[in-house]
């Protein structure tokens, strides 16, 4: 199968950099699958599962907010603040983060804090749902 260069970057490190057959990620308008020779494309990503296909097999990762960019040369870059392979997710930490967010949502706080807590909850729930997936 045709491959393309995929780079997944976070501010802390280069998370992934290799030839890939397919990338599946969730944009603000829904899941997209990107294959080799995709036309130039840029989309915002929302917290969800991201799948990378290498040698016919998918690897799953939990991704936070970010952006995906297909350049004119066909290489693909994913920029995100946080991403973890499904088998490396710290479930206990995600659980704690979820509980904290829920508590904050229940407390009557300002609009801003409510929005922040809601986003934190989304990320935590996403990490919990992706954890353990192949």
């Amino acid at each position: 199968m045709a491959v393309f260069k995929l780079k997944v970057l976070t501010p802390e490190k280069v998370f992934f950099q290799d030839d890939t057959e397919q990338l599946v990620a969730k944009t603000t308008t829904g899941y997209v699958g990107i294959l080799a020779n995709h036309s130039p494309y840029v989309a915002s990503l929302v917290p969800a599962e991201m799948k990378i296909k290498i040698d016919g097999a998918f690897r799953s990762a939990a991704i936070s907010d970010g952006v995906v960019k297909v350049s004119e040369d066909g290489s693909v870059t994913v920029l995100t603040s946080a991403v973890e392979w499904s088998d490396e997710i710290d479930v206990a930490r995600a659980q704690r983060s979820k509980e904290r967010a829920e508590k904050q949502l229940k407390a009557q706080t300002s609009r801003t804090e409510f929005d922040l807590a809601e986003r934190q909850l989304k990320r935590a729930v996403n990490r919990l749902s992706v954890a353990g997936k192949k």
Binding site: L9, P11, Y41, S44, K69, S81
Partner: protein, 286 residues
Amino acid sequence: MANMKDVKRRIKSVESTMQITKAMQLVASSKMRKAKERAEAVHPFFEGIFQVMADISRDHEFTSVFTKKKFKNSVLLIVIAGDRGLAGGFNSNVLKLAKAKADEIQASGGEAVIMAIGKKAVEFFEKREYKLIDGFPQIAEGIELIDAMMIANKVVERFRLGDFDAVELVYTTFVSVMTQEPQHLRILPVENLEYLGKKHPMTIYDPSPEAVFDSLIPEYMGGMLYSAIVDSFASEQAARRTAMESASDNASEMIDKLSLLYNRARQAQITQEITEISSASLNDNS
């Protein structure tokens, strides 16, 4: 003549001080190396984000609250300094610049609102007549991106709601092991973006260039804040390393001088003893 016992005690005390400064120097230089690596790791991500933002603004005529220049009524100054002292002029240099910027804003009729990162910055602005809206002491060491993102999200949200018209950053950047420079940067509204007419109409933006641009702002801000905090931390360690190095040098110089003094005193005492013994034996013979 110097008292031998006193001199010896002083040598001991200088030695133990030197041990501390030496240890601090070593710790600072290893922390500095680590922080430098982290600061460098941010670049690819940050350039990627900025590139996408630059592409969007280059290809599309669009409006975003994050690029609109407004009359500066209220400016948020994010000031990053260290958590500890003993780092030469590190803290005072950056705080001096921050104060100058805040005064400048206020002199031109605006209001400067301060967000302080680092214990020294928090203490500095608490004592003075500035509006400190938020303080984050003790986060620079071992900061994780998520911490920076949380702060960035708060700032971006409040900027969007119009709490401030501009966001500026004052921190210290690592130039080299010997030099660290205080810096002042404008973060919001985003500058250096230009519309050059449609050059790459090929790119499809999902859902729209504006939406992608706006959704990138928190990442941009978070990345920038994270890199500034790590950069500042590396600078702090470099400044401390230099300060401790010169302290150790001074201590060893002092020990040399004191040892000389001690040896002289010892010699004088021996000479005196010999004189006493020989004069005593002379007295015996007579």
